[in-house]
Amino acid sequence: MKERNDRKRQITRFSFYDQTAMQRHFEKMATEGWLIEKISTYFYQYRPIEPQKLHITVTYFPDASEFDPRPSDRQQMMEDFAARDGWKLLTSFGQMQVFCSDAEDPRPIETDSVTQVETIWRALKKNLFPAHLMLLALSLYQLIFNGYRAYQDTVDFLSAPYLLAAFPVWLLILFAEIHELIACLRWHRKAKTAAENGVFLPVKTNRTISFALILTCVFVWLSTILLPAGTRTFALVWMIVVIGVILIGRIVKQALKKVGASRGMNYAATVAVTVLLTFAFLGGMTFYIVRFGISDGRTPVGSYELNGWTFEIYDEQMPLYVEDLMDIGDSKWSREHNVSQETFLLSKSEYRQNHVQGGPEGLEDLEYTIIDVKCPALYEVVKQSLLNERQDEVSDGYTFINHYKPIDAAAWDATGAYQLHWSDSILNTYLICWENRIVEIKFYWEPTPEQISIAATKLKTE
């Protein structure tokens, strides 16, 4: 005999409304000596019993809510009806009740398939549809938001793993939600017709969609591990915050149920606590980031003061240094590899070399971004996106110049080269296109043809 306090838990494996599959499963568990005693969103919990053949029925009470402190009079009335036929309530969860009977041939709780379909349909409309519609709206919003972001900053979108990963995830959620809603509508149409012939058509659990969503979550979690150190910490903290807020929301809901708060009060308080905590955590994180920044795992080698601000000095590897182009004497520099992000489509690295102090006259800074396009089909899209980032602005009939103009690519040994026209000046900012690489480089001085040649050789290959 198993220990009295011995309990068994299983991950919820059936759709909330798949009563036929649940009944079959709970009956099988009873023959193995486990009686269902608690159902939650994620788990079934069983208590040990003598293995026996029991009849188990899952029913729905459409007006019930998981925020109810106790079953309503009407719900208890339904339980009284069931008790009259020898059915004992084992557990309830939101709209769902699970009854059992040890009689050999008890009168079924549901005897009219038309009424049964109508009851499940009412329960679906009250509970599942609003949840699906909200998630559908959220996924649509995220897709539009991410799509706009991809259009506005194609390079950043395609080279940032967390941004690129979010798109298929939301797309999958959108399809899953549409699939669920269509499946519900189709079930209702077919079940109504079948019920006319006295046949009950159960709601089916769709495991493919569930598995796809679980796999996607695992994929997203794994992709965060591949992020740079600082962003990874941020992502993990964010995930912990989300899980924490959900858990605290649940604790509040359960506590209010225990003290007998009404459904409305419990719902309002749980939502309020969840929203307030989310904003509090967001505010706290924003404050922390503004105050202390996100550590990106880079180690400065020193610092200097300028106009009351403290700047850190780095000595990081760069494909092209100012000293490759001119004599810098014994001057002091900060060499920074600021951004490095990569996906299977694109990689992007930003470099900057700042003059700190000392050395001969005329020393100027240098900064550039190297973009490697791994998917040839995206090359023109990326190039056009970079060119389009600079747009002339027309206001009150006056045109403010801000665009790239083609220049001789031969000087750069490139397939395409552009120089930035800004206001009434031609800046020393160039967009250079090689076979799979595009570089945007800004010289803080006017480079000589020799310097351009050296820069081209270094940036093209390194």
Partner: protein
Amino acid sequence: MPREKFRTLTEQMFYVLLCLKTECYGLDILDRIPAMTGGRVTVGSGTLYNLLEQFLDAGMIVETKVEGRKRTYLLTVRGRQMLDAEYARIVAQAQDYRTVFGEEA
């Protein structure tokens, strides 16, 4: 095509309404129907509860007494009209049967 809600009644809907010609406790209907039909028709407890709720929503019955979880119900004029319509449909079916099979019926 499935039928419009309550345009026609299932056998169990019919007998639940029939029981409520006189005031009756919901729970008692569970026994009245088998007694009325000689055990030919039985209604499950969940089905009975849900039917009472749906009939109440549709104005086909009313609650006449509420004592906590114990409630009594009574058929309304609208409920009676639904029963009459169903009865007429059943009679028409029986008539059609007789027309086809004549004295064999």
